[in-house]
Amino acid sequence: MQVVPLEYYLLLSGILFSIGSIGVLTRRNMIIIFMSIEMMLNSVNLTLVAFSAFLGNPSGQIFVFFVMTVAAAEAAVGLAILLALFRSKKTIYVDEVNMLKW
């Protein structure tokens, strides 16, 4: 069986990370922004696992568990804050949340 080379994984994770960051920058809907952030974190997981397998060093895979846990916690906190804002402002679009400006 032929092994998929490391570069393919890195390229894929680079593409996923870029899509995620572009999503954060351009999307207006906050739930989609959170999804884009999740995508960035998952691309990181892919890089870590790929490097870990390539180097034969398991600590990268251990790191992935922590990243997943933190991602879940971050989503929970983010959605709770979003809910609190939705109760007072009735919107989830970032451009309509603009009381604080320089």
Binding site: T47, S59, I81, A84, R87, S88, L100, W102
Partner: protein
Amino acid sequence: MNPEQLKILGSSFLGDLLKSVNLFYPETALVVTFLLAILVDLFTRNRPSCKMSGYVSLIGFFVTAIFLCNSPQGMSFAGTYAVDAFSIFFKWIVLITSFVIIVFSFFSKELFGEERQMGEYYTLIVGMTFGMFLLSGATNLILIYLAIETMSMSSYILAGYTKEIKRASEASLKYVIYGATSSGIMIYGISLLFGLTGSLNLSGINAYLAGNNVNHITLLISGIMIIAGIGYKISAVPFHFWTPDVYEGAPVTITAYLSVASKAAGFAILIRLLNSAFTIHAAGDTINTAWSVMKNVDWTMIIAVLSVLSMTLGNFVAVWQTNVKRLLAYSSIAHAGYILMGVAVMNYTGVSAIMIYLAIYMFMNLGAFFVVMIIANHIDSEDLEDYQGIGYRSPWLGVAMTIFMVSLTGLPPTAGFIGKLYVFTAVLNSGMYWLAVIGVLNSVVSLYYYVKVFRNMFLRGAEKANQPIELSLTVKVILIALIIPNIALGIWFGGLVNWANASAAMILK
């Protein structure tokens, strides 16, 4: 592996664990405090605005301080967590700030105005303290990431704690979006660094970088991504976008907390990362030897550029601010710039100058925010225009604020002068004259907006003198307690300087 080998491995693991537990008493005390504060809150649930869990947290901080006093030093948990003089200094800054912030919270009308459940508030502050303790000693990338997240997650919630105020929930949402994005960027940098060096321990990374040739571009990208994540915590330009909004929207106590404690913890990890991972360490490395930064990437220049950007943007934008909290937000960005000058020097003189600066910055910034909070309690406003005549309505607040502003500007005889003096001396000694010149020019600009606060308080609105603001005795005592270090450290600074010099050493293993 035969059973004999396993036994040796197991006993060395246990031995390391037992040794580590001895080094981990202050953190353990914080976790116990965290749990106790939740428990106490459960029993006092039906009495909103009860301060019981706040008192529990204060006692917990006191116990932590006792453990911190007697803390031994060493490397713990298989080389992932360093307890050294450097981290202990930063832990003191974090601990004192947390203590003072909880005391401030008791006086906040904003927090206690509504019938609000306050239990979680104290619990989260204790949790955040724990995260910052870990951050100041972390030497492993996993632990660094987890510590940053522990601290951030609590601060996201705290920033929006007054959730029925629209401003606060907006601030908290912006904070969580920027924060999650920047930590995503940081961890991508970490994954690249792991791929480059095959190690997650700072010492392992250091050993690999010193011995092998790695791809410079990848190292540069991963380093910048990690610095972006930390730069977000210390609110350095260009990672500062959240700072003004969050500082303005969050409750004053939390604004003060973010501006002092999380900035200090961020600087601790930035310095440790640069020193432990990207510097060549010779065998007889002592505090007095200069760092020899690895030649592959010019970290000094990157930090110096960040520093210049932060100082200049922070000071110039602050000039136009009309909201005092926002003004202090930009001033805190500018101060991050001054402190980054000390990082750019990349030697132990710079590190000890940073420690002196942060210790002094803690007292002056906490003082300024306390005055802002007390004024907001009485006049329900944080607008600079509404500050007119405060000096006549309450000479206490006026004089205190003036002292803090003079200290923030860095004029003698206040403590702020000593902080700036040591940072500028470190920069000049290292020969980066252009950086020192930009720093001094920036201090002159900062004088303008700090004096603007003073002018509104004393030179305008004298006719309001017939509406005096009465302060309670405890508020006066706290004001004096904050003014004393601001003056005293400007005159008797020898002790602090000696302590900082002795604490600049980091364990490199």
